[in-house]
């Protein structure tokens, strides 16, 4: 065996080790959360709202946090989807000068990379400016919408780019307007990208803690209006885990388990739906 082959063997070993580390870290995370979370999980904890002094060891569950998280992430994803869809359709060559469109794409990519805590601070600044303290559902939704817009827009945009030009041309040649082509033809063709983008955005939104932490506050009840404070899964984990009592800390693992399951479920649904929806796409 000569030197070249030995070098290749060494690097192959390193590569296998790296892949093992990467896959191992995910397996480690899932097992740690499952092992610690499942024992402290019960029906009560899933179906009750927290009682006063929940963080000090009082009873109750975290249904308010689950509902709060959904009330934050669902409207935010809906808003971000509407906005993202409009932008992604408008970035097409048919509507906009490609140079400007590329500039907007760069802006969106930068926004994608912006740490979520910056959006939190942005909303916090506005809250301070209008004299609101303690947090509200509304600003949580705004922060999450800002976070999700670039994610959803760019993934819809990428799948719109893949659409064969002939398809659009044939729509035009049948007399449809630009808007009709965009809404009826391009939208249907981009369906896998839309589903993937929306679910990706939803997953990011429901799991993001930094922007929520600064904007929504905390509450033991279901929010009844958009100016109410609300509990959310990620912030509840942070609050629980910072407590000294071991029993209280164990609840954090249960919350984390639920959060992780939601995220895993989303990624499975994404796989299934994108596969299903790409069946009817014209290549």
């Amino acid at each position: 065996m000569n030197r070249r082959n030995i070098e290749e063997k060494i690097f192959l070993g390193l590569m296998l080790a790296s892949v093992f580390i990467v896959m191992g870290s995910l397996i480690l995370i899932v097992t740690v959360i499952v092992l610690n979370g499942v024992p402290s999980l019960s029906i009560e904890i899933l179906t009750q709202t927290s009682e006063g002094g929940f963080y000090l060891g009082a009873g109750g569950g975290f249904l308010n946090a689950i509902v709060g998280s959904l009330l934050l992430a669902l409207p935010a994803t809906g808003l971000a989807f509407l906005i993202g869809m409009a932008i992604a359709l408008y970035l097409q060559k048919d509507f906009m000068n490609p140079r400007i469109a590329n500039f907007i794409r760069i802006c969106l990519d930068i926004l994608w990379g912006v740490p979520s805590v910056v959006y939190g601070v942005f909303c916090l600044t506005i809250m301070i400016a209008i004299g609101m303290t303690g947090g509200s559902l509304l600003f949580g939704i705004i922060a999450l919408t800002l976070l999700e817009i670039p994610i959803i827009t760019r993934s819809i945009d990428e799948s719109i780019k893949m659409i064969p030009i002939g398809l659009k041309e044939s729509a035009y040649s049948l007399g449809s307007t630009k808007f009709e082509t965009a809404v009826k033809v391009v939208r249907k063709q981009a369906m896998p990208g839309i589903i993937a983008g929306v679910l990706l955005g939803f997953g990011r939104g429901i799991g993001d803690a930094a922007s929520i932490l600064l904007t929504v506050g905390d509450s033991n009840y279901f929010p009844t209006s958009i100016s109410d404070q609300t509990a959310a899964l990620p912030t509840m984990i942070l609050n629980l885990v910072s407590m000294p009592d071991q029993v209280v800390q164990n609840k954090a693992y249960a919350v984390a388990f639920i959060l992780l399951m939601i995220v895993l479920l989303i990624s499975i649904i994404t796989r299934y739906l994108t596969k299903k929806s790409s069946k009817h796409i014209i290549k």
């Binding site: 192959l12 892949v19 995370i29 930068i110 942005f122 803690a209």
Partner: protein, 352 residues
């Protein structure tokens, strides 16, 4: 409405009759006080209007829809600049109180006595980010090469979802795992091994470890993308002149996809730099210049998370935190732009 549409609407005779009937109805109402005829002509007008609306409705939808999309796009771009403006305006208060050099190069952070020196925090941030990148880059690169070039197809189909899922795990879950696994590990084994006797486990190194795991999926998936876009003919040419697979990777694939890899590293750096929650859970949250890697620290992002609760009691702290957020934004902006420029230069120079 653009003039061409208005003209085409006016050309329509029905519109003319409609306008005439509206005109007549007004004459009957105001000059002749005849309500019956006024109502009659008004009804004629409304019917004609409705008829016309259906006729021009496709064109109208086209215009309105396009305008709406333009409006949404423009307002998001506006939002991008609003974000910058709000951050700059918010940090002006602290910049008026303290000089920029004092903020950046003094290392005492005591918000209660009005001292806002960020130097220690900046140093900690750089150390944590650098170590996490040192761990993450080689591992991610090697795995990406394996997945792209060596792995059998079956294995590849298993690994891809793994990486996607890892990318989607919430940062608070990463933080919790670090708390459960890395903190005791470093307190009991790793820190004593390196001769650091008293370590609580909440340290710069713990934060770097968890950050490197969080960065894996970003770098791997971006690298895979650029490895896969190397044309197969290029690899075949190299293999056909007798290079081994590894030599082909080293001399052909790395060169061809180098800019993509560099851009991936920049993006990963941005992610590690701005990560907040996972870091703040394990770094110990003390604004100190580190004596060892196993001592506590604070990064720019985690500083915001651990200080925001006092914002209502110390007004100027809000401004200081906004300044920190502004720093984060600018650094991430620069790194994203660098990644973009590298890719663009490369796409001009190397055309495969």
């Amino acid at each position: 409405m653009p003039p061409s549409t208005i003209r085409s609407v006016l050309k329509n005779k029905i519109v003319l009759i409609g306008i005439l009937s509206l005109f007549l109805s007004f004459i009957f109402l105001f000059l002749l006080n005849n309500f019956l005829l006024f109502a009659l002509f008004l009804i004629v007008f409304i019917i004609l209007l409705a008829y016309n609306f259906i006729k021009i409705t496709r064109k109208l939808y086209d215009i309105l829809g396009t305008r709406l999309m333009l409006f949404v796009t423009a307002s998001v771009i506006f939002l991008f600049f609003l974000l910058l403006a709000v951050l700059i305006k918010g940090s002006l208060t602290i910049l008026a109180e303290e000089s920029l050099s004092n903020l950046l190069f003094s290392s005492t952070w005591k918000p209660f006595s009005g001292e806002f020196g960020l130097f220690a925090v900046i140093v900690d941030t750089l150390i944590v980010t650098a170590i996490s990148m040192l761990i993450a880059v080689p591992i991610s690169l090697l795995s990406a090469i394996y997945i792209a070039e060596y792995a059998p197809k079956k294995f590849r189909n298993i690994v891809r979802p793994f990486i996607d899922v890892l990318a989607g795990v919430p940062s608070v879950v990463f933080g919790l795992c670090a708390l459960l696994v890395f903190v005791p590990l470093i307190r009991d084994d790793i820190a004593p091994f390196f001769g650091s006797r008293i370590s609580s486990g909440f340290s710069l190194f713990t934060a770097s470890l968890i950050l490197s795991i969080m960065v894996f999926p970003i770098i791997i998936s971006l690298c895979l993308e650029s490895f896969n876009s190397v044309p197969i003919a290029l690899k075949e040419a190299s293999l056909s002149v007798g290079a081994t697979k590894w030599e082909t990777i080293k001399k052909v694939i790395f060169r061809a996809s180098g800019p993509g890899v560099l851009a991936a590293i920049f993006l990963g750096f941005g992610r590690a730099f701005g990560e907040t929650i996972a870091v703040s859970m394990v770094i110990g949250n003390q604004e100190l210049i580190p004596k060892s890697l196993f001592g506590p620290g604070q990064t720019l992002a985690s500083l915001i998370a651990s200080n925001y609760t006092e914002v209502s009691s110390i007004p100027i702290l809000a401004s200081a935190l906004i300044f920190v957020a502004f720093l984060l934004f600018v650094v991430v902006l620069i790194f994203n732009l660098l990644g973009f420029l590298v890719l663009r230069r490369a796409s001009k120079r190397w055309k495969y």
